[in-house]
Amino acid sequence: MLDDFLVRAGLAGVGLSLATGPLGAFVVWRRMAYFGDATAHAAILGVALALAMDLPVGFGTLAVALVMAVTVSTLSGRGWAIDTVLGVLAHSALALGLVAVSFLQGVRVDLQSWLFGDILAVSRADLAFIWGGGALVAALIAWRWDRLLVATVNEDLAHAAGVDPNRERMVLTLALAVVVAVSIKVVGALLIAAMLIVPAAAARALARGPEAMALLASAIGAAAALAGLWLSLSFDTPAGPSIVAAAAAGFVIAGMAGRLRA
């Protein structure tokens, strides 16, 4: 069954949604949308470095995404406006990555596939990487759920309850780096943030509690991945953007359904 590229693609999309659902909910609640973008853009630099050093691409993207995430956390803690920090770092990292790719001699880099993803080319090894990373992030968030939630509602309340909000922020930062690393192949660097935000935003219209919103976001993300693959196959459209377009349609439908119910 795993021999079929379409089955592998579908499984990759579903596996990714495991992590992007709950993590995306936190990204929306904490207004970290642009942060996800920045980490993802930096991942291109990771791709270039990994190829140059002949390391696995997943390793390179993970390392650079981690460095990026920690740098942003540190700089924004030092009084720089967060959007300025992200603007400088995200675009610099993307530009550096593109420049670095052009220096690679003898390595054929399909830049298009890193920017927009190539879910139809997902291998068995990729699938293991995606499911492993996705399950890791989902388990991490489930384990620390209440602590993450109270730190999101109010940092002082978290502190008073014995929860260190800085540690919880770091947990989310690490989770984000892992998700970027495992999803760059599926949706590409430019659309990762969309897979985090759009399903979570769609789930908001229907959910009455934080747990429901996280689970619904996963379900909507998985449905969007399958619908997007179907679109791609039927109309010969690029797969990554088709998945995001399907998620966007889900956002509109959920919004209307939520309004009808209210």
Binding site: V28, W29, R30, R31, D146, R147, L149, V150, T152, V153, N154, D156, L157, A158, H159, A160, A161, V163, A201, R204, A207, R208, G209, P210, A212, M213
Partner: protein, 247 residues
């Protein structure tokens, strides 16, 4: 309520100095909260009131001095910046991060006078309901000390008076001490056993009457507080709705 001298305080700061971003916000501050008393910290904007409360809670580190906590503490923050994107019912909020049974959360909400809001979304509450929900959450910790940061900000005067009455009732029933921060001199002071006047350091301290007559207090707040003076001189059994200038 007499101040217990020498006994173990619930929370105490001894010669505490706190620096934020290089400037000294609190210098050599010593205060103590003893069992069963209601203490209010007053002071002008920027006097370090919230900083002191957050230092007592252990949120901010001290540059020198010592903070000791010997009590279960319930905390009510100044405000909750609620994201509308986060769907959160009042009941779920009360169980965060420590889970409580539905019976316990319902009882806590009933205790603070808002039994009907358990299923409401936190973001849909009025200012007064939100304050009570946060107090209910603090009570669920079965606190020996309740710390509140500007608890009546944004409430109208009747709402404010009702909230202080509620605090007195809670104190009477549970025996919990109350430490709150306020820049509002009138009703707050009348509801307190002890007032600490803060302006980077402790200017003066004592019963509301002593503090309001202290030259340090008058220098800070001027003499335009006569309206409040009448309020200090009563006991805590009647309501505070009357006697205030509503103009």
């Amino acid at each position: 309520m007499p101040r217990v001298q020498g006994g173990m305080s619930l929370i105490a700061a001894e010669h505490v100095t706190v620096r934020l971003g290089g400037s000294e916000v609190l210098s050599d501050v010593s205060i103590a909260l003893n069992a069963g008393e209601i203490v209010t910290i007053v002071g002008p904007n920027g006097s370090g009131k919230s900083t002191l409360l957050r230092t007592l809670l252990g949120i901010l580190p001290v540059a020198s001095g010592r903070v000791t906590r010997n009590a279960r503490i319930g905390y009510v923050p100044q405000k909750l910046a609620l994201e509308r994107t986060l769907p959160l019912s009042v009941r779920r909020f009360l169980s965060l991060p420590i889970r409580h049974s539905r019976a316990e959360t319902d009882a806590a909400l009933a205790r603070v006078g808002v039994p009907e809001i358990g299923d409401r979304q936190l973001a849909d509450l009025s200012g007064g309901q939100l304050q009570r929900a946060m107090l209910a959450r603090a009570l669920l910790a079965k606190p020996q000390a309740i710390l509140l940061d500007e608890p009546t900000q944004g409430l109208d005067q009747p709402g404010e008076a009702a909230f202080y009455r509620l605090l007195e009732e809670v104190r009477r029933e549970t025996g919990a001490a109350v430490l709150m921060v306020s820049h509002d001199l009138h009703v707050v002071m009348s509801a307190s056993d002890r007032v600490i006047c803060l302006n980077g350091h402790v200017c003066c301290e004592g019963t509301p009457r002593v503090v309001s007559n202290a030259p340090e207090y008058r220098a800070l707040f001027g003499l335009g507080t006569q309206g409040a003076l009448a309020l200090y001189q009563h006991d805590h059994d009647h309501t505070h709705d009357c006697g205030h200038d509503h103009a």
